[in-house]
Each structure stands twice: as structure tokens, then as C-alpha cells.
Amino acid sequence: MSNHLDISNKDLPSEPIRKGFGRGLEKAGHVYPNVVAACADLTESTQMHLFKAAFPERFVEIGVAEQNLVTVASGLAAAGKIPFVSSYAAFSPGRNWEQIRTTICLNDRPVKIIGSHAGVSVGPDGATHQMLEDITLMRVLPNMVVIAPCDSVEAEKATIAMASDPRPNYMRLAREATPVITNQDTPFEIGKALVMEQGSDVTIIATGTMTYHALVAAEKLYKDGIEAEVIHLATIKPMDYETVLKSVHKTRAVVTAEEAQINGGLGGAIAELISENCPSPLIRIGMRDRFGESGDPNELLIHFGLDAEHIRMAAHTVVKKED
């Protein structure tokens, strides 16, 4: 992996992760004739408008009806389609979990559920719209794949990969512009973790928007004399156990970072994994069993401790515990 230690000084371009999904879906539409898309009255916001413009006959407007969104998609999949369905994560999978469980997971239909505007960084809309439980809800479902790309470039690759994945997939997207930290050459494969920074003192495992903050934290930690290994876990489930455990065996100190509830989220998943396989000091950065609130996105991230500085402090703590 290229050295990101200078990340905070780089003038990185920024773009909402969801934009990469929009481009990826249009590309997937060109590659796979059976890809179709359905949306619950948020077509532009979830970036499906590009697909709709390119393939109007393959786009379905569902209206504000998220239960119908995923169950119609289950039917479309039964008819041989690869349906991508999008809404805000608070509504899908927030409202239609049982339908996803029964008609998509147990029924094993390759529906691609896109939950946009996840996390507190939705900002001013407030707690109702700041979906924090989606990773937890989707992670516990048998057959479901859970993906949270770190930037728009990766989201585009993930979308194209999802179109040929035979399983039900959930992908979590964010609203605000996020620094672009990968490029066209960065490898992406569903189920594979990406070691973005190598180190031997502490393992920082991050997903989605928090991977950037993890890299910034690693840079600060380097200056503090701590070498952090940063693992970007774009696929939370099925998890790349091998890569994670290899790193944890080496560092014996772990910090996780996600813009979601740590209970049952990435933090929960890592806690389950390492407590069974390689017990090590662990601090989980994320939402701690509470809801968000209205505010400026960056202000909220700091308010809830979802930033590089909190990851850095957590790393210091777990490294000390390890000694």
C-alpha cells in the first residue's frame, strides 16, 4: 500500500461517497443487462438519477413505500433481475427489516440494498435521519453481505462488484463530501480487507467514512512514536478474518472506528472475533448507545468523538494496556 503518512497535508479531493454509487450503478447497467434499479422517492439524493436517465425502462419508482421497495425487488430478482434499491438508510433497512430477512435473505434473492445518508454526518436533519443501527441490523442476517466503502472511488468499484455477486448485499453510503483516499488502482474485492498503513504497535480497524480519520490518526501516532496498522474493512460481513487476526496477533492492541453504533456494529463484530481468537485490549470508537442530533456534520463528528483525535487517544490507551 502506498504511504499515507502525509495524509493530512495532502490536498485531497473530496466527494460524497454516494456519488461513486451513482456512477457505478450506471456502469453496471451498461455491463449487465439484467441490472435494474428501484427507488423510494429519493432518486437524485441517492444518485440513482444517472441510471434512470441512461435506462429509463429499467428504473422503477416505488414511491415512499420502503416495505414495498424491497419486496418488489425480491420479486424482480425472482424474475431474473439484479435489483438495486435505494433510500435513506434510516428508512431502508430501517423500516423494512423483516421483509429483507424473509423475502431476500431466507429466500436468498440477490437484491442490492443501498442505504444512503447513514451516520451522524447527515447533520442538520437530526437523529431521526442519522441512521446508526444499519450495520448491526444487516450484519446479523444470514446470507447478507455488508459493505461500507470509504470514499466515492471505492463505492463505484463496490457497486460494480455487487452487480455480479450472487448474494443479497447491503451497502451503506454517506451524504457529505468525504476525502478521496483510494484511486483506480487500489484493489477492491468483496470480503477482502485492505491494509492501508502498516505498523506493529496497534491495529486500527475502520470502515466507511471513518477510514480517512483512522489514517489521519495513524499519522499523528507516528509522530507520537507509535506505529499503527490501519485496516480498512469495506466488507464488514463476511469479514476478512485472516487479515484482521494476522494484524491483531502482531500488535495485540486494537481500536475500531465507525460512524455507527458500536453495539453490534463493526466494533461489536471485532470484539466478537478477537475475544474468541486473540483477546487483546480494545477500544471501540463510534456511537455509544445513544442517538445523534442536529448540527453541522463536522461539529457533530467531534461532539460524538468520531474523529482522528479520539482514535489517537484510544490507540495510546490500548497500547498502554498491552504493556
Binding site: 416505488i62 416495505q67 419486496t71 425480491s74 420479486g75 424482480l76 433481475k81
Partner: protein, 285 residues
């Protein structure tokens, strides 16, 4: 795929299916009695006359689709599929047992021919909409999508999301049959959450509505034929049925919605069915 049978022959098949249902439920020791018995005529009509299907090739690409939305009524589907030749009738007695392909509620991946997994109510109509829409996208006009639902099931909001969607999209390759037997677990449908004016509700959502006697096989066949001729709208067949049909002590009694017969009750029910309510006298009597 099968040669057409007379209505009289179909009625006898429906009666045999009812006997199978009683035996299955008694053997399983749990399950729903009233709905499956009430639906026996509709399922006989579907599998032995209406559906274009092939029991020897359940995934045949030109087949019609039948979605069972109220999955708790699946014993009638299993019994009918066995009679139609999908699998050996002996397997019916594995219903609800460990390792069985005949799960308490239908699981598509376990038994070929089921088309969908259902149980939690209210999502079959949406899935049928998705399949109908998928066929339309592919310009497939020779395959019909049927969905059987319960009336109590239509308390679910998901049903009305689908109802609005099907109406707005003019899904005329979709034919829904609602089992209007007027009962659900807590009592009569009108007592639990009134559904009437039921016909007007569906019409208001953009459906062409037909009302029939759902225990009259000829009515069911005719209504589906009429439904296939409607080209502008999805078709809702409100099939008025008698819950527990064919077994005197079960008919019209909502307590039989979610209960199986015990051994004595099963013997009594089977005798009633086998003698066509006393019309045929056994030589052992």
C-alpha cells in the same frame, strides 16, 4: 401441461386434498386447519386446470408463477403439489418435522416449486408485483403471475403499498386471489379490524375486482380466465370461502384458524370427508 379434467373430477381431487391436509396436521400436531381446508378448491383449480406448469420440471422457464402470501396455509399447497406429481404423497407426513422439505411455513430453497418463502404476512403481493413487472420489462406476455392471500393478512400496510403500486403500474399480468373467509386469529375480520367495504377498497386502488364463491371450482376457473382477459388493470378475485370447508365442526369457527385436529377429531373429519358428508355409506358401518 396436464389434460383437462371435468369439474366433478376436480371436486373429488379437492376432497382428497382435504383428507391429506387433515392427516398432515394431525400427524404434525401443530399448524393451521381452517385456511388450508377452505382453500382446497382454489388450489385444485390452480394446479389441475389454471396454471401452466410442469411438476416434473418445477423451474420450467415458461411456467406461470403462483405465490402463496399467507404462508401458514401451505399445507394445502403441499398436498396439492403432491397430488399433482411434484413429489411422493408419503412425504406429506413429514410436515413440520426436523429435516423435512415441508417446513411449517414455505421455504423456497427447500422444496422446488414453491416460488417464494413466506410466513410473515403482507409481502407476497409485492413479490408478485416484482415478478409481473420483471416479465413486462422482458416483454414476456405468456406467463401469468398469481398470488393467493388471506383476508386477515390485508391488515398489513405492505399489502396496500403493493396494491397502490400494482394499480399505478397497470400490472395486468397479475391476478390476486384473496381468501375471503372472514376469520383471523383473534376473531372475525370485521371484529378485529373491519375490512369492508372490501371491494371498494381494491377498486379505489386501481384494481379490476371479481367476486366469486371460492369453494366453487368452476367459479375459480372462470374468474381466472376472465382475469387474464383484463388488459388494463391488475385483477383481484375476492374468493368467498368457508373456513374449515368440508369438516362440519371446523366450518366458520375462527378457533380452527391456528389449530390442528387431535386424533379423534381427525378420525371424525376424515370420515366426514370420505363419505362426502354421509352421502356414501361405508360397508363397515
Amino acid at each position: 401441461m396436464q389434460s383437462k379434467r371435468s369439474i366433478k373430477q376436480l371436486e373429488l381431487i379437492a376432497n382428497e386434498i382435504r383428507q391429506d391436509i387433515i392427516e398432515m396436521l394431525e400427524h404434525a400436531g401443530s399448524g393451521h386447519s381452517a385456511g388450508p381446508l377452505g382453500l382446497a378448491d382454489i388450489f385444485t383449480a390452480l394446479y389441475f386446470d389454471i396454471l401452466n406448469h410442469n411438476p416434473k420440471d418445477p423451474d420450467w422457464e415458461d411456467r406461470d408463477i403462483l405465490i402463496l402470501s399467507n404462508g401458514h396455509c401451505v399445507p394445502v399447497r403441499y398436498a396439492t403439489m403432491a397430488r399433482a406429481g411434484y413429489f411422493d404423497r408419503k412425504e406429506l407426513l413429514t410436515l413440520r418435522k426436523l429435516g423435512s422439505r415441508l417446513q411449517g411455513h414455505p421455504e423456497r430453497l427447500r422444496l422446488p416449486g414453491l416460488e417464494s418463502t413466506s410466513g410473515p404476512l403482507g409481502s407476497g403481493l409485492s413479490q408478485a408485483c416484482g415478478i409481473a413487472l420483471g416479465h413486462r420489462m422482458d416483454n414476456i406476455t405468456h406467463r401469468w403471475v398469481y398470488v393467493v392471500m388471506g383476508d386477515g393478512e390485508t391488515d398489513e400496510g405492505n399489502v396496500w403499498e403493493a396494491a397502490m403500486f400494482a394499480g399505478a403500474n397497470h400490472l395486468s399480468n397479475l391476478i390476486a386471489i384473496v381468501d375471503r373467509n372472514n376469520i383471523q386469529i383473534d376473531g372475525t375480520t370485521e371484529m378485529v379490524l373491519s375490512l369492508e367495504d372490501y371491494r371498494a377498497k381494491w377498486e379505489a386502488f386501481g384494481w379490476h375486482v371479481l367476486e366469486i364463491d371460492g369453494n366453487n371450482i368452476e367459479d375459480v376457473i372462470d374468474a381466472c380466465a376472465m382475469g387474464r382477459a383484463i388488459v388494463e388493470k391488475p385483477v383481484m378475485i375476492i374468493a368467498h370461502t368457508v373456513p374449515g370447508k368440508g369438516v362440519d365442526f371446523m366450518e366458520y369457527d375462527f378457533h380452527w384458524h391456528g389449530a390442528p385436529p387431535n386424533y379423534e377429531q381427525a378420525v371424525k373429519a376424515l370420515k366426514e370427508l370420505r363419505t362426502l358428508r354421509g352421502k356414501i355409506r361405508s360397508e363397515h358401518e
